[in-house]
């Protein structure tokens, strides 16, 4: 039995039907489903040791604190960080990038400085830098995307210079599936003295990510895309960098002493975790890490590569369909975005919904990338470990139905008209 079929039973939501059809969930790049182990851990927290962290001196508060910090240590090991204190819990990738832009950016970016991003970025890796650039009078430069959906590294080289202060690029595109050569990009960024930030929201769920081998200075990730709860996730950053950064939010838990006129702050990561943090979800994120490691990234990557290759092959059978991004599985993950010649993505998604198939339609928070390809929107099927070839087959059958409904078959008129 393949991995998808084997682990499927671990995901209770996948047993549901949608519009009377077995649910085919192909929107994991938006958010992943959760295994039973994660759901159980969430219930266990609230039922057995729900207490605030870092303050209670009673037993369950100590347990909550130990598990919260234990999850941090687990994530640090998972990402290859040199110490647990390099992990700051945030609501996810968006907040992690905003944290860097705000805390690091405000003291390090001056008028005339340049921030290098790429055209394939998610809005969460564009808008925070736009806000920073507008505030500090800095300039944004963009690495172009080639027709086959790769970063133009020659152009990247030319963008770098003495004014480049920061490079922030996605590890894996949420639309094209492209896996970017981060190590190389980081080396070049460092050669001009720039900071390297990685948006790893789409890579951490699918491949073994190690911050030390990638050569990054900071990396943002989301728990909910890696089988964990929404509102979990964080920022990894080099400890010395975190130490030099001022606080992001002010409030309780992040201080050592508060006077009426001034306060002093804790060391990282607590300096960046003001207020009661998302205790439950970040503890439970540790259970998601355990689940992923239990399967192993070699098996995960092999399964997803097989499914991606199968999906790319079968999508090409559908008349009028164009795939965005690389057409082979070399440095490519399982985000399968496409357009159809006469049918708008929203109509594609609507027809598939009736077949029980969940995909995403729109710009997937990557408007500049869509504009680069002359598009306003695309349809996207995205894969996770629990998907199978049967899911792809259902998608392809659904897409043939889309074509039939929109008149690629001469029978469409009587059928639709007759029922209406």
């Amino acid at each position: 039995m393949d991995l998808g079929a084997r682990v499927r039973a671990d995901f209770p939501l996948l047993r549901h039907t949608m519009n009377g059809k077995p649910l085919v969930y192909l929107d994991s790049a938006a958010t992943s489903q959760k295994p039973r182990a994660v759901l159980d851990a969430l219930l266990e927290y609230y039922q057995d040791y729900n207490a605030n962290v870092h303050r209670g001196i009673y037993r369950i508060a100590e347990e909550a604190t130990a598990r919260y910090e234990g999850s941090r240590a687990k994530l640090a090991a998972f990402l290859g960080a040199s110490r647990p204190e390099e992990i700051v819990f945030t609501r996810g990738t968006t907040e992690a990038i905003n944290l860097v832009a705000s805390a690091w950016g405000r003291i390090n970016i001056q008028a005339g400085d340049e921030i290098v991003l790429s055209v394939m970025e998610h809005h969460s890796n564009i808008v925070p830098w736009q806000l920073l650039a507008a505030e500090r009078g800095a300039r944004l430069r963009y690495i172009p995307v080639t027709d086959d959906g790769r970063l133009d590294l020659v152009a990247y080289e030319r963008l770098l210079g003495p004014r480049t202060k920061l490079v922030s690029v996605t590890h894996q595109s949420n639309v094209l599936g492209t896996v970017n050569p981060i190590k190389l990009i980081a080396e070049r960024a460092h050669s001009v003295g720039a900071l390297m930030v990685i948006d790893a929201a789409q890579s951490v769920p699918h491949q073994a990510v190690n911050v030390s081998t990638l050569g990054a200075d900071a990396l943002a990730f989301s728990g909910h895309k890696m089988l964990g709860p929404t509102g979990s996730g964080g920022l990894w950053a080099r400890y010395d960098l975190l130490e030099a950064m001022p606080p992001y939010h002010g409030g309780g838990e992040m201080i050592t002493k508060v006077e009426l006129e001034r306060s002093t702050f804790k060391d990282p990561p607590h300096k960046f975790e003001a207020g009661t943090p998302n205790i439950a979800d970040n503890i439970v994120l540790g259970a998601a890490v355990d689940y992923l490691l239990g399967i192993g990234f070699d098996a995960i990557a092999a399964h997803e590569r097989d499914l991606t290759a199968y999906g790319l092959r079968r999508l090409r059978e559908v008349p009028g369909l164009t795939i965005l991004g690389p057409l082979d599985t070399v440095d490519r993950g399982g985000a399968l975005a496409f357009t159809m010649d006469v049918v708008h993505p929203h109509d594609i998604a609507q027809v598939l919904d009736q077949e029980g198939i969940a995909i995403r339609a729109g710009h997937h928070c990557a408007e500049p990338l869509h504009r680069r390809f002359g598009l306003a929107a695309s349809a996207r099927a995205s894969l996770q470990i629990y998907n199978t070839r049967d899911d792809i087959d259902a998608l392809i059958a659904g897409l043939h139905e889309v074509n039939r409904l929109f008149g690629r078959s001469p029978r469409v008129k009587e059928e639709v008209g007759g029922a209406g």
Partner: protein, 153 residues
């Protein structure tokens, strides 16, 4: 919920073969409409003469519902008095929000099926919000405006 309620024959026909598509130059009214939720875009051009819609055209890109609704609307308002267009807009929006139309809306009734798919209602109302905005701009002596379905309910 059957898809046939959404994709009625007349809707697919207008989507695949839009009427009055293109730019109108010169025009008395030009409105850019947008549905921020799903990115439907529409440009509507109207020429007014003797208190009537002398000509109307549209350009845009979006889903079948927004584009078919625009095509059907241009057919419905061409030649009508401004007053009649206002009434038709009210009737149409009312129908999309659950009221029975007081007059025979002809082919436009096909769009009633969209009501069963709430997230798509704004796709259907976009061109109507745009023409309403355009007429308001025209009455205020302006020739261009922007319309959005954001505040529309």
């Amino acid at each position: 919920m059957a898809l046939d309620d959404l994709y009625r024959e007349v809707i697919l026909d207008h989507y695949m073969h839009p009427r009055n598509r293109g730019r109108l130059e010169p025009s008395d009214i030009a409105v850019e409409g947008a549905n921020p939720l799903c990115g439907d875009e529409l440009a509507l051009y109207v020429r007014v003469s003797d208190g009537r819609v002398a000509d109307v055209r549209f350009e845009g890109r979006g889903c079948s519902i927004s584009q078919a609704s625009a095509s059907m609307m241009t057919e419905a308002i061409k030649g009508k008095t401004i007053e009649d267009v206002h009434r038709l807009v009210t009737e149409f929006k009312g129908m999309m929000h659950g009221q029975e139309p007081a007059e025979d809306l002809g082919d436009l009734v096909a769009l009633q099926g969209v009501r069963k798919f709430p997230v798509r209602i704004k796709c259907a109302t976009l061109p109507w919000v745009a023409v309403e905005q355009g007429l308001a701009e025209h009455e205020a002596g302006r020739t261009a405006g922007k319309a959005t379905t954001e505040a529309e309910r």
